[in-house]
């Protein structure tokens, strides 16, 4: 049977916890803007939009805490949330409601993702697969100073690599919009 070093699970869970906590903080700082995005998806009835706009980021923060405290619960909740987001995007693409803000650009570049695409659904599927890696059984060992240092450095790398990847996609999308690629 395949067995991983426990560091891999720790890293994946911490990285996703950071992702969810940052996403939740951003949404809670711009509640009305996020409510607009929820409205754009046209799934929740209008009277519930404001409520969902607050409950979703709070649930994201809860998922982040669970990922760190109760791994299995956290991974299940995070996968469920990512799958739900993916399904909502897929449903809107299927019915042609694509010209909306996906709510995945953290408000910094609304024009970065001008429309919903299958790439966003694929992204969520990949994220769930990566999350599943942390469910692979691990060997038992105590973490030391070296693990702490490596975790900090790897998370730092992940943050900047993620930002760089996001920027490249945004630039590519803008170029495609004006016919430069």
């Amino acid at each position: 049977m395949m067995v991983f070093d426990p560091f891999i699970s720790l890293y994946v869970r911490t990285a996703f916890a950071l992702l969810f906590i940052l996403a939740a903080m951003h949404k809670l700082r711009n509640v009305s803007e996020f409510a607009d995005i929820v409205k754009g998806y046209n799934i929740v009835p209008l009277w519930a939009v404001a409520g969902v706009g607050i409950i979703l980021p709070l649930f994201e923060a809860f998922v982040a805490a669970m990922l760190l405290l109760f791994p299995v619960v956290g991974i299940a909740a995070a996968s469920a949330l990512l799958t739900a987001y993916g399904l909502v995007i897929a449903f809107n693409i299927a019915r042609g409601n694509t010209q909306i803000d996906c709510g995945c650009s953290w408000g910094r570049a609304k024009t970065a993702f001008p429309a919903l695409t299958w790439a966003l659904v694929l992204r969520n599927i990949l994220l769930v697969i990566v999350l599943a890696i942390s469910l692979v059984p691990t060997t038992a060992r105590a973490f030391g100073l070296m693990d702490a240092a490596t975790l900090g450095l790897v998370l730092c790398f992940t943050f900047f690599a993620g930002k760089a990847g996001f920027t490249l996609v945004a630039v590519y999308n803008r170029m495609r919009e004006v016919g430069h690629v």
Binding site: G40, Q99, I100, T111, T150, L153, F157, T167, L168, V178
Partner: protein, 200 residues
């Protein structure tokens, strides 16, 4: 030995982080450069209507019940601005549109055109963004006749009912380029480049 490994490992990670930050900076720089060299004018992508052609004659009713007519000879030019409540770029462009319309109010009228959604959504959109002063038409026909494929889109129809410029507008510069196109008689940046290449 393990201490040496620790230091080496940490230094390598630091190097990877520095490199990633550099990649990020470069990616941003590519974006900035692209913004600067991208066509400054509204992108003219239209297979239905061409600059210089007579605008289609359309009679519609605005949301408040007034009669709106496009394509006739008038005293003033008309900007037909296509937008939608669920187009995020349109929202960011509205302040620029409103100030441009005020600045050009001496010669220019505007018609806001949208389609789909229920009238309530359009009405709350008008109220939210202060679009009351301009006639707001909800009509799929209008967009089809003008060959609109992407939003936000605008077409400038002059006093004689002739299309003087049209294209997708993503920024204030794009919007102003439509007015400049009318003044200079050059339809679009693509048109300008084509003419320059011919001359060259």
């Amino acid at each position: 030995m393990s201490e040496v490994m620790m230091i080496s490992q940490s230094l390598l990670w630091l190097a990877v982080i520095v490199l990633t930050v550099l990649v990020l900076a470069l990616a941003r720089q590519v974006g900035v450069l692209h913004e600067r060299i991208a066509p400054a004018g509204a992108l003219a992508i239209n297979s239905v209507l061409k600059v210089g052609e007579k605008a289609p004659h359309i009679i519609e009713q605005s949301l408040d019940g007034a009669r709106v007519e496009i394509g006739l000879e008038k005293q003033r030019s008309t900007l037909v601005f296509f937008l939608s409540p669920d187009c995020p770029i349109c929202k960011t462009l509205l302040p620029a549109l409103k100030s441009a319309l005020q600045a050009e109010s001496g010669w220019l009228d505007c018609i806001l055109a949208s389609d789909g959604s229920s009238p309530e959504i359009h009405k709350s959109y008008i109220a939210q963004y202060g679009l009351g002063p301009w006639p707001y038409v909800v009509s799929e026909n209008l967009g089809k006749k003008f060959g609109v494929s992407k939003l936000p889109y605008a077409a400038l129809v002059d006093e004689a009912g002739v299309v003087r410029s049209l294209g997708m507008v993503n920024s204030r510069e794009h919007l102003e380029s439509l007015f400049i196109a009318k003044e200079t008689g050059v339809a679009s940046i693509q048109d300008f480049m084509a003419k320059r290449n011919q001359e060259g």
